[in-house]
């Protein structure tokens, strides 16, 4: 059963506004006209154990205090704060809850005393990949995750996200070999199965705890490809296709009940926004502290929250790095929000953000709002994740190819031969999903995964 795009008019596909805005936390509205800064932060190198725990708490307190003080000083109209826990805090949820609670309490304090509007996104880890092959539906890692989800209310979360990893064990292989078939198996077959299992659990837990299920990120899949492409390990055009292939998988969270904002590092966000109408968080030039990219500006074009991805609590000349990020994000949002005071001007700004990056790199090109809408449309005309991935890859590669012909995109000479290689691989994907699965299972017999964990 085909569904339609939530955003059908390119003029209405812009930053700060989404068809399904969200109210959350302490007076924050996302997707309702203004872009909100989303600030992330993490510990510098430190071993997490009972002995270092007081220092861990001190650092979180230092970080969130610096952030709130700066947001108040700049007169921010509201911030979204994300804590992505470190794995030991999900394995041992009591640690995760304690850190989260500390942050939530600070946000309460700044709301009451300094009128700082804020919401709190809590992102537990998908620790299931901490064993090889991963067990997805049972065992101590899954138990820890389930407990943490269940305690998200106690932890003070307003929103829950995750960067889940079901299928990553096959995706890793696909990336090393730039193997489209393995990629499609990972992102079109097994990842969506795990997403369905995982997000049903998360959404149920959110309902019980009055927390908003926000969304997932294909970080471990597509951002790994992006970073490898940035290091010239992988062709950029392949990384662009991995991004597209990750969309149907991330969409499953929304089919299960997630409502956004999609996670910052989910660069598939514009697709999610076009398809579902949910607001999205994005990151770009202000996330250079976390990773380099070729989508520093275009990633901002249709964002609803604007993030720094993650920064460690290291000292810079002015102060601690999280505070520095807070300032940069706030100024970026100010500019976007001033520009969008009329719809025409907002589109002008959006189009400049797009034009400044889109011709440099296929990964940027496939984030062009018009391209996103076209590819999204072909994807959702299909009914299953497998067919959506296949349709998206076909359409995406065709878009890239015609952009190159039209001189709207330049590709390094070294990548040109990849166009044909990738085309051949995509073209040979069968129509029938069962046929594809039967073709792939024997090839992946030695791979480090457990088929039964994905319902095989």
């Amino acid at each position: 059963m085909a569904i339609g795009l939530a955003i059908t008019n390119l003029d209405e596909f812009t930053y700060g506004k989404s068809p399904k805005p969200i109210k959350c936390g302490r007076g924050v509205e996302i997707g309702n006209g203004r872009v909100i800064p989303e600030i992330n932060f993490t510990l510098p190198p430190i071993d997490i154990n009972p002995e270092t725990w007081p220092e861990v708490l001190r650092q979180y307190s230092e970080m969130i205090t610096g952030i709130c003080e700066r947001a108040v000083a700049l007169g921010s109209s509201g911030i979204l704060v994300e804590v992505e826990t470190l794995p030991p805090m999900t394995v041992n949820p009591s640690w995760g809850v304690e850190v989260s609670r500390l942050v939530a309490d600070k946000l309460d304090y700044y709301y009451e005393k300094r009128q700082l509007h804020s919401a709190f996104r809590l992102t537990p880890n998908d620790t299931r990949e901490h064993q090889r092959p991963p067990r997805m539906r049972s065992g101590m890692y899954w138990d820890g995750m389930k407990e943490f989800f269940e305690r998200s209310g106690e932890a003070g979360a307003d929103l829950i996200s995750i960067e889940s990893t079901g299928g990553k064990e096959i995706n890793d292989i696909a990336l090393m070999d730039a193997d489209v078939h393995a990629l499609v198996f990972a992102l079109g077959i097994i990842a969506p199965r795990d997403m369905e299992f995982l997000w049903r659990e998360i959404v149920d837990s959110c309902k019980r705890n009055n927390v908003i299920p926000a969304g997932d990120s294909a970080c471990g899949f597509a951002n790994t490809a992006m970073v490898l492409a940035e290091q010239r390990m992988l062709p950029r055009v392949f990384a662009a296709l991995v991004r597209i292939a990750s969309v149907p998988r991330s969409l499953v969270a929304f089919e299960q009940g997630a409502v956004g904002p999609s996670k910052d590092c989910a660069y598939e966000g514009p697709y999610i926004k076009a398809i579902t109408g949910s607001p999205i968080s994005m990151e770009g030039r202000t996330a250079a502290c976390a990773h380099f990219s070729s989508v520093g500006n275009i990633s901002q074009a249709v964002c609803d929250c604007w993030s720094n991805e993650s920064v460690q609590n290291v000292r810079l000349l002015s102060g601690y790095a999280p505070t520095v990020s807070m300032e940069q994000l706030e100024y970026d949002c100010r500019l976007l929000n001033v520009a969008s005071q009329t719809p025409e001007d907002g589109r002008k700004m959006r189009d400049w953000l797009v034009a400044s990056d889109s011709s440099h790199d296929p990964q940027a090109y496939v984030l062009r709002p018009d391209v996103v809408m076209r590819i999204s449309k072909t994807m959702i005309e299909e009914d299953t994740p497998y067919l959506r991935v296949r349709a998206g890859l076909r359409c995406g590669l065709a878009e890239i190819r015609s952009a190159i012909s039209a001189n709207q995109l330049t590709l390094p000479v070294t990548e040109m031969k990849w166009m044909d290689r990738l085309y051949r691989q995509i073209d040979s994907l069968p129509n029938d999903e069962t046929e594809f699965i039967e073709m792939m299972l024997p090839k992946l017999a030695d791979a480090p995964w457990i088929p039964s964990e994905y319902g095989f």
């Binding site: 993490t42 510990l43 510098p44 190198p45 430190i46 071993d47 997490i48 470190l86 794995p87 030991p88 990949e129 901490h130 064993q131 090889r132 890793d172 990336l175 090393m176 070999d177 730039a178 193997d179 790994t224 490898l228 290091q231 010239r232 390990m233 992988l234 062709p235 460690q312 070294t414």
Partner: protein, 212 residues
């Protein structure tokens, strides 16, 4: 007589079938395997390395060439005199305790193999004891560790300490890498080398065993 240029091309293009077929024909014609290796196979892998270094080749191309090389090598190794056939050195590799991020480690492992090293891959979440024991048992010359998380980096220091305590550090060099790792950290914990990325890792490994 078999034209051997296709062997060079096959390895360069990662065409394992052609590479093996050409080697087999040449062996039937009693061409000196050492000549195959020195004049075609090694030069082909050198060219692959050059292309990778200059960003003409990406990892998948490097891996596929390395596999073609490996396939061809397996055919001639039994026929070879000692010289040239032995790996440059043995490397024990893995991600440190608590760290499950292995894509970088896998890249390094593959590139070391393509570069002529014998790689013993302990996979992920490797304890200091496992590193030490395997290096000892296998007579490895290098231990290579990676960590992607700042929280697991201390595992590197623990492994260096374990190597020292086992009195093994005069026989084994230790190299480290991973996103949060720096040269300064390597110096601090007493590792012998740090590499910023997978291609630099092969160069570093060669330097550490004096092969460059």
């Amino acid at each position: 007589m078999t034209d051997l240029q296709p062997l060079y091309e096959a390895i360069l293009e990662g065409d394992a079938a052609t590479a093996k077929a050409t080697v087999q024909e040449a062996l039937i014609e009693s061409i000196d395997p050492q000549e195959l290796l020195d004049k075609f196979m090694i030069p082909a892998m050198d060219e692959v390395g050059r292309r990778f270094e200059t960003n003409e080749y990406f990892v998948p191309e490097l891996l596929i060439s390395a596999r073609a090389m490996k396939g061809a090598l397996e055919l001639i190794r039994p026929k070879l005199a000692d010289k040239g056939a032995k790996p440059i050195a043995k490397v024990v590799i893995g991600t440190v305790k608590g760290d499950l991020h292995d894509i970088g480690k896998n890249l390094v492992a593959a590139m070391l193999e393509g570069g002529g090293f014998e790689v013993i891959d302990l996979k992920v979440d490797v304890s200091p004891e496992q590193f030490v024991q395997t290096a000892k048992e296998q007579g490895a010359q290098i231990i290579a560790m990676s960590a992607l998380l700042t929280t697991t980096m201390p595992g590197m220091k623990a492994t260096v300490d374990a190597v020292n305590n086992a009195g093994l550090h005069d026989k084994v060099k230790i190299m480290i890498g991973g996103a949060p790792v720096t040269q300064r950290y390597a110096d601090e914990i007493g590792a012998d080398g740090f590499s910023e990325n997978a291609s630099a890792a092969v160069r570093l490994a060669r330097q550490l065993v004096g092969a460059e």
